[in-house]
Symmetry: C2
């Protein structure tokens, strides 16, 4: 399984992904699910993937192949004039890959379902956040729904619903993303450390943070423990109320 969350705030976009994949309970491996592209001052793009690993890897590879063979004149992540076009290019790559492998997977009774979160900013444009589906179609995050989750989304959703608004400060949004991941890590064994974090600040065409949080990270463990304690405290208050 997978858990990836992307939050679009007025101040910037936060992306957080785990690295565990499994093909059955006895085939668990570690794969990076976050991919980034940047050209300082021109564009910064982060993608996160969930679903069929072969499908999403093929999509990412195809996008990178096209960048390397720019002489073919195909529009790429680095030549697209807007983030909207970037989302379309990702959707087109998804359609090509699904066309190649989807029918075979369906025939074998395997799921080909995949999704890709696409976030970023082009110089002169707004920050934008999209979620691309298996069919290559996509939706964009709005003021009403400023975040996307892909993969195992349920455990980590309540904290986002309670805390996230477009005006939420970036550091508060990062905490919410971390606690959303913490709840998911605790409840679903097929979501696992290490984690990849990307933070893109509004108007700054580059990464404010781009780092990995390793298994056993002390600050992460401290936060996780403190959150457990705070929740137990909050719960204790509740036992005083008679329903």
């Amino acid at each position: 399984m997978t858990y990836c969350v992307a939050i679009k705030l007025d101040d910037g976009i936060i992306c957080l992904s785990d690295t565990r994949t499994n093909a059955g309970i006895d085939t668990i491996s570690k794969y990076k699910k976050m991919f980034t592209w940047q050209r300082e001052g021109d564009r910064v793009i982060t993608m996160m993937t969930a679903g069929n690993l072969a499908i999403t890897q093929a999509v990412i590879s195809l996008l990178n192949e096209n960048i390397e063979h720019v002489e073919d004149g195909i529009e790429t992540l680095y030549t697209a004039p807007t983030m909207f076009r970037v989302a379309e290019i990702v959707g087109d790559a998804m359609r090509i890959v699904m066309g190649r492998y989807g029918p075979g997977l369906t025939a074998a009774g395997e799921s080909s379902a995949s999704s890709i979160v696409v976030a970023g900013q082009r110089a002169g444009g707004d920050m934008r956040l999209f979620q691309v589906y298996s069919a290559g179609n996509f939706i964009e995050a709005t003021e009403d729904t400023p975040y996307f989750q892909i993969g195992e989304h349920k455990y980590g959703k309540p904290i986002l619903d309670r805390v996230i608004e477009p005006s939420t400060p970036l550091n508060v949004g990062i905490t919410a993303a971390f606690l959303s991941m913490d709840s998911t890590l605790r409840s679903n064994l097929s979501v696992g450390m290490p984690l990849d974090v990307a933070v893109m600040r509004q108007g700054q065409i580059g990464f404010d943070q781009l780092r990995r949080i390793e298994e056993g990270d002390e600050a992460w463990a401290e936060m996780s423990e403190a959150w457990s304690g705070a929740l137990r405290g909050a719960f204790h208050e509740m036992t005083q109320i008679d329903v």
Copy 2:
């Protein structure tokens, strides 16, 4: 959808269920999913159902039919000597109903998946808590896993995992069940009020509580609000930690 939770503590068993069912997003109705049987001082039984409504209604009806036609000599919920036999009787009824309708549902591409939580106590026996599956097989709650959830279980699981142990006092367990339901109500529109509550205290062969919490219940709303406030407070503490 449905959310039902049953918690087995040293002090007793708590059952809590919602009442919303849906066949598609535009066919939502209200159905009680909690069923009780009691003979004061002899036995007390609570069941909660999830899954295909026609299947679970047929199982409950069959169990009640057999009680009414006791002259047929069939062992019933009221004549079974132990709670284990009660679980077997429910499993047998499930197998009969699934045998009748399962193949037709499968042929129509509909899900026949259903589950029934069975909780109770027989005079002279221990309190026991079982979960019966579609095939009529069942598992029992243990010290390691003292609760069962059926239906939309993910949103309400983290609070149970953090709080529930066999030694948890009954009133604390009730609060945990209520907050587990509150999280689910907030996150899934197909789970809805009113709620049915049954509390059976260890050694008392009857109901300590058997009541309905209606939509708009003031004490419930107060608890829900207080929990939101407490969570926001707990979250605010977290934003002070730097990961």
